[in-house]
């Protein structure tokens, strides 16, 4: 079966989730769709599934434009999807799950014909070359078997285009191999597979064709044999063209980077939610250096940052700030020792949105001179300090008493910088500084980072915007799966190599 889409667009409020997306999936093809989180893959799937209706464009099934108004209709048209979290009923047996909603019946009383069910299940399993214990409850079955059952269940009911959303995220490497074998067999037997992933290696190994999405658009599509992993990585990250690559300013390398402001040794820490724990981070930041930390989000960046600034307790390892062990220091001790922190989560951690602009720009300094005089707070000094800090970074505001919520995103972020740089930190940990900031704001923030460094401070820059990191950093670390997997100096860093390290989790040879 042939599945296509022409000019699909879908907006949620002001966010354009899909913009003019076209797609052509040939029959008997394994077609991979890759892209970062938020690139628009899930929205596209929802449109193909009929969960959402496109604002513009159409879906084409077997060369016929087709309005898919509901998941049920998608199913009838032969499109079936396996979600990241499986949909089997845990209390029912695999056999019951297999026929649920489409039971074979026999006799005048329409009894469920379990034998027929078992036979059809076995037939499909044999075709796929696997064995299934049909009487086991789904809840106690290993996930990869559940996945098989789900696939068989869809096939049994006439699915000809199988959409799989990140199917390998729950599987062990060996099981991934088995799944791929199964998918290849299915393809050879006539099923079309649409495979969503952000693991490039897997995609290159399995797919016949790969389509890259970025910021809601299809940016690249190619047969796997006609491209290379680095090229795909390049498009996923959305980097500059290699020719236009602008090497970073060279003057920096002359600095005495051996004077280490921050040093991290064998740092391990537990995970946030489903993210990776830190598995022994080794890194340093030299004096006057901007060091970038690149990585696909959720590979340990947040944990590392929280360990550095004192919001998370490491399980082992050490952190040194200017030679002083701060591994278990309190947040306040770190700040007093010269650490500044621009949080990635501006709305919940970088600012107290309902507090005044004044409080937001002086918080952390309420016990320092000149705000504190004796035991009490000098309100005049507090006001002046706030105004001074804000004007230095050109923050536009109405009144200091307004809630900081009333500022635009860019001014909010500048307020954070105004606060965190006012105390002349020796190391500024900056996480996702330009997230949610418009283009002019981005330029201003980059200028701020440069000026801070010019004053002699060191910066650890964590960002998902690879261009930003490469553009600003003297050196770049690449983090994947809780480890530093690569390091490259800013001069020779390019989007393709770093991007590939990020996505494959290994340093490139040479």
């Amino acid at each position: 079966m042939r599945l296509g889409a022409v000019g699909l667009s879908k907006a949620y409020g002001s966010v354009q989730a899909n913009r003019n997306v076209s797609l052509a999936v040939k029959p008997q093809e394994i077609h991979a769709i890759v892209g970062e989180n938020g690139a628009g893959k899930s929205t596209l799937m929802r449109l193909l599934q009929g969960i959402e209706q496109p604002d513009a464009g159409e879906i084409i099934v077997d060369d016929v434009p087709c309005r898919i108004s509901s998941p049920r209709q998608a199913f009838v048209s032969g499109i079936g999807m396996i979600h990241q979290e499986f949909m089997l009923a845990p209390e029912l047996t695999l056999l019951e799950n297999l026929v649920l909603g489409d039971e074979p019946v026999t006799g005048p009383l329409a009894r469920i014909d379990w034998n027929a069910a078992r036979e059809s299940g076995d037939a499909h399993a044999a075709q796929a070359g696997i064995e299934v214990d049909w009487d086991r409850k789904a809840g106690t079955t290993p996930v990869h078997i559940q996945q098989y059952v789900e696939i068989i269940r869809l096939l049994r009911r006439g699915t000809r285009v199988l959409i799989m959303d990140e199917p390998t995220s729950v599987l062990a490497p060996k099981q991934v191999e088995d799944l791929f074998d199964l998918l290849r067999k299915l393809r050879d037997a006539g099923t079309t597979v649409l495979f969503i992933s952000h693991k490039l290696k897997e995609v290159m190994a399995l797919a016949d064709r790969v389509t890259v999405m970025r910021r809601g658009e299809v940016t690249f599509s190619s047969g796997v044999n006609e491209t290379a992993i680095s090229e795909v990585a390049h498009h996923v990250i959305g980097g500059l063209d290699l020719e236009q690559q602008d090497p970073t300013t060279g003057e920096v390398s002359s600095r005495k980077a051996d004077e280490r402001v921050l040093e991290v040794a064998s740092l391990r820490a537990p995970a946030i939610e489903r993210s990776h724990p830190l598995k022994g981070i080794e890194m340093f930041v030299g004096a006057g250096e901007i060091v970038g930390l690149a990585g696909v989000s959720g590979n340990g960046q947040s944990e590392l940052v929280e360990c550095l600034v004192g919001l998370r307790k490491p399980s082992s390892g050490q952190i040194f700030l200017e030679g002083r062990d701060i591994t278990y220091a309190t947040n306040r001790q770190r700040r007093d020792a010269g650490l500044g922190y621009v949080s990635a989560d501006r709305r919940h951690e970088g600012l107290a949105l309902d507090a005044s602009i004044e409080i937001n720009s002086i918080a952390g300094s309420q016990r320092r001179k000149p705000i504190r005089r004796g035991k009490i707070v000098d309100l005049g000094a507090m006001r002046r300090t706030a105004a001074e800090r804000l004007s230095k970074l050109d923050v536009r505001f109405g009144s200091l008493r307004d809630a900081v919520r009333s500022l635009s995103g860019g001014n909010q972020q500048r307020t954070v910088f105004a606060r965190e740089t006012a105390t002349d930190p020796t190391l500024l940990v900056v996480s996702q500084p330009t997230r949610g900031v418009d283009l002019r704001g981005i330029a201003a923030i980059h200028a701020i980072l440069h000026s801070i460094r010019a004053k002699g401070a060191s910066i650890l820059l964590v960002s998902e915007e690879l261009e930003e990191i490469i553009d600003l950093s003297d050196r770049v670390y690449v983090i994947a799966d809780g480890r530093i997997v690569g390091e490259t100096s800013g001069d020779i860093a390019d989007v393709a190599t770093v991007g590939q390290m990020m996505l494959t989790g290994t340093a490139q040879d040479g």
Binding site: V309, G310, L311, T330, N331, R332, R334, R335, D336, Y341, S343, D345, H348, E349, G350, L351, A352, L353, D354, A355, I359, A363, G364, Q366, R367, I371, R372, K375, I376, V377, L379, R396, G398, D402, A403, R405, S406, L407, S408, N411, R419
Partner: protein, 354 residues
């Protein structure tokens, strides 16, 4: 465009919050009470003017109102200081009661020869006992993240149980079959400000506490920090403020203020401890704090409002057949709308953000 529009809307919300905060629930309550009065065939205007007259119609009545206001000044501040830091301490009631028993104990158990010294000793003991009383749930919250709402609520029952036991056993007045301690020595009694009214020096202590609270929240690093913790805990710890230390601090201060309130009530008003020592001052204090948006001036007006309802609501029954229920309806509606008002502002704000 968007940048210009947002601040304007935000500012109007803030004005709404400050201006209507106290006034809106009050008028809403009047409307509800009016409807009830009309249904039972009374003229709301006359009833309200009668209540106003009983609350503020003469020096004696103003003094009676302020006398009823006094405990609420303490419990309002004790609650607000925690609410402001995002700590939902509902244990002021219990701390007020144990503090009151402590002060009363000093008042009758120590020799009367100590004279006026009994007063500071009584206040000090009450503050100490109540500070420890609330430090416990504070520590449990700070150290083990044990829900303060549950622990402080439970402690209220403990307070009632313990004081109930003491006042019916070891500390029971020999002269009484009922659940009261002996009277305190006369020298331990707080002076009355406008005799013969029961308005006593505890009111001045309350005003002082209120002013100190107003100063503390604006003019001390700890006061500013506690507000930041209340606004956003992640932010607070990111800028180097210790959440556990702040939680324990506000709980201890809340305990001290509650204890002083209990002492003022025991030494100034009842001159003993009795079962039913507090008819729920701690809980009315929560309404006062909510109504007053945790500001000193708001707490002052809030506690006068509830004090007026308590004093006028009672004596107005002498001169009309308005049942106490009407006053209860007004009080209850004010509280409900104070809470609803909070929720409404939060909702409005969320919409404005979107």
């Amino acid at each position: 465009m968007a940048e210009a529009a947002t601040p304007l809307r935000e500012r109007s919300i803030e004005r709404l919050e400050k201006g209507f905060g106290l006034v809106f629930p009050f008028f809403a309550a009047l409307v509800v009470a009016s409807l009830v009065l009309l249904v039972i065939g009374k003229n709301p205007l006359l009833v309200f003017s009668l209540i106003a007259e009983e609350a503020f119609g003469s020096t004696n009545r103003i003094a009676a109102t302020l006398s009823a206001t006094t405990p609420l000044l303490f419990t309002g501040v004790a609650t607000a200081i925690c609410f402001r830091a995002g700590v939902f301490n509902v244990g002021v009631e219990g701390a007020f009661v144990v503090g009151g028993l402590g002060a009363a104990f000093i008042g009758f158990a120590l020799p009367s020869s100590l004279g006026i010294l009994l007063v500071p000793i009584g206040f000090a003991l009450a503050a100490t006992v109540s500070a420890f009383w609330l430090a416990v749930p504070g520590y449990l919250l700070a150290r083990y993240e044990i829900e303060e709402v549950v622990s402080t609520l439970m402690l209220n029952f403990v307070a009632l149980g313990v004081t109930g036991y003491l006042v019916n056993g070891p500390l029971l007045s020999e002269k009484s079959g009922n659940n009261v301690t002996p009277l305190i020595h006369e020298s331990a009694e707080l002076v009355r400000l406008i005799p013969p009214s029961t308005l006593h020096a505890g009111f001045l202590v309350g005003l002082f506490i209120l002013a100190a609270y107003g100063f503390w929240i604006r003019r001390t690093p700890a006061g500013i920090e506690s507000a930041i913790v209340g606004q956003n805990r992640r932010f607070a710890s990111a800028v180097g403020i210790s959440i556990p230390a702040t939680i324990i601090l506000v709980m201890v201060i809340s305990g001290i203020v509650s204890g002083l309130g209990g002492a003022s009530h025991a030494l100034g008003q009842l001159h003993r401890f009795a079962e039913g020592f507090s008819p729920g001052y701690g809980f009315t204090g929560m309404a006062v704090a909510l109504l007053g948006r945790n500001t000193a001036i708001g707490i002052l007006f809030g506690s006068i409002l509830f004090g007026a309802l308590a004093s006028a609501g009672t004596t107005v029954q002498l001169f009309s057949d308005i049942p106490l229920d009407i006053v209860n309806i007004i009080e209850g509606t004010v509280m409900i709308f104070a809470v609803v008002e909070l929720g409404r502002i939060a909702l409005f704000r969320r919409k404005a953000v979107k």
